[in-house]
Subunit: 241 residues, 2 copies
DNA sequence: CCTATATAACTGGTATTACCAGTTGACAGA
DNA sequence: TCTGTCAACTGGTAATACCAGTTATATAGG
């Protein structure tokens, strides 16, 4: 065998065709040339454009589908969308959730993220910044009145999303999205997010309202304290439902 | 168009063939039937086993490759491995790093994770628990003497990995892995992890040593404080290199 | 007998072709 | 105008072939 010292050559990287196609797509998306909603040419057209066979194109599209960058409608076509990790997570979820206590640890991580987001809130909160949070709050109130637990859970998530959004930290937002997605893919996820007892939902609603009020009066410290106890209560609800 | 209220039917979910294959693989891995190192039957065999065509098998394998669950050697075969997010991240990295300050925010998230891990350390630290950390420390010392910056960076990561490992929090470990992987895929990543100035490396080394010493004497509070200032310094080094 | 080389039987990568099932839109008939 | 049909798409799947590698075996040389 030839020693690397005698032959100072570097291995020639041989990438597969689908990787080149993938790279082009990702680059076009990240540079903004391709935007969500855009329609992707048909597989046959792409094969011709890239001068490759249709299977190669399909492998690239398969990956784009898994990373949640395109939506493929059989008979229709493929459309770009805002990247979402759902499809990917639904594949690897069984691997993650085989670990004991994973969901509880997820909640703890969420606590960490949101408490940090609360620290990073801007000095002064304008009325405008609070709009998404207020919307989530009113949604939650309506859901509570109509006893629509599904909508209530969604509004709950929207509230916390709105909070992290105000922190203006890209990575905290992404991390929260990841946590939420993971929770949705958990075994108990679908049910545990939806509160069974009406009084619990009402209690959570009040806590959200209190946090919002504190933020409205620009008392960030108070809001952070309320958020902390709120998250702790959510965790308790999860442990003993 | 038929209203959903007049027709209480639910859409018939039509899953694609590759998804069924994918599901079987993931389930077999998560239940431990298939383990890392196992060789996967050839594409032709799998096609026969599943009674599908080879392209369908290939699409499933393509996804398994992207999620980093198998290693495909052209001409050789496909082997299962411990799941790693590298291949997946290398695809979506351009999408994430198009955001300004993403790397800095990554460091901040790491700070959050490690500080939390330091909180979760067990009450009493046995000699055994500290073995990985001590190993990383000695690696770092050796790398410093030999002026091997590459090895030094690796040992640095290993040190922090060892710290989070002691927290016994699965999700914190996974989150740190994610952060490290993301950093490796960043544009500056490869270079910025490697310190240029020798005196900086020596300084970091001393701080690591101090953290280790504090843990060895079971002074968790002191260790946590040292870790905090250490991480802050790393961030400063990153901002003004 | 042992080693080295050549050969054969694999492997995955890619291309080609074909057919099916579903969607879509235009067009003709009521 | 509405409705049904039909043609031209779309993606999903299959079958087949060939190439370029690897691996194992067998064979020829020492």
């Amino acid at each position: 065998m030839m020693n690397s010292k005698t032959a100072p050559f570097k291995p020639v990287a041989t990438r597969k065709i689908y990787q080149y196609i993938l790279e082009q797509f990702v680059n076009l998306v990240s540079t903004g040339v391709l935007k969500p909603g855009d329609k992707i040419p048909s597989e046959r057209e792409l094969a011709e454009i890239f001068s490759v066979s249709r299977p190669s194109v399909r492998e690239a599209l398969r990956v784009l589908e898994i990373i949640g960058l395109i939506d493929i409608q059989p008979g229709g076509g493929a459309y770009l969308k805002e990247m979402e990790l759902g499809p990917f997570l639904s594949v690897i979820a069984p691997l993650l959730f085989s670990h004991e206590n994973f969901e509880l640890e997820l909640l703890e991580l969420r606590e960490l993220v949101e408490m940090r987001a609360a620290e990073l809130l801007p000095q002064t909160l304008t009325e405008e910044m609070l709009v998404p949070m207020r919307a989530a709050l009113s949604d939650m109130r309506k859901a509570l009145e109509e006893n629509d637990k599904e909508a209530g859970a969604l509004a709950d998530i929207a509230f916390h999303r709105a909070l992290v959004l105000m922190s203006d930290s890209f990575i905290l937002q992404k991390t929260l999205e990841l946590i939420v997605s993971l929770f949705e893919h958990s075994v108990r996820g679908g049910r545990s997010v939806v509160l069974e007892r009406h009084e619990d939902a009402e209690q959570l609603m009040k806590e959200h309202q209190a946090i919002y009020d504190a933020l409205l009066s620009n008392d960030r410290e108070k809001a952070r304290g309320l958020l902390g106890s709120h998250l702790q209560m959510v965790r308790n609800l999860y442990i003993c439902p």
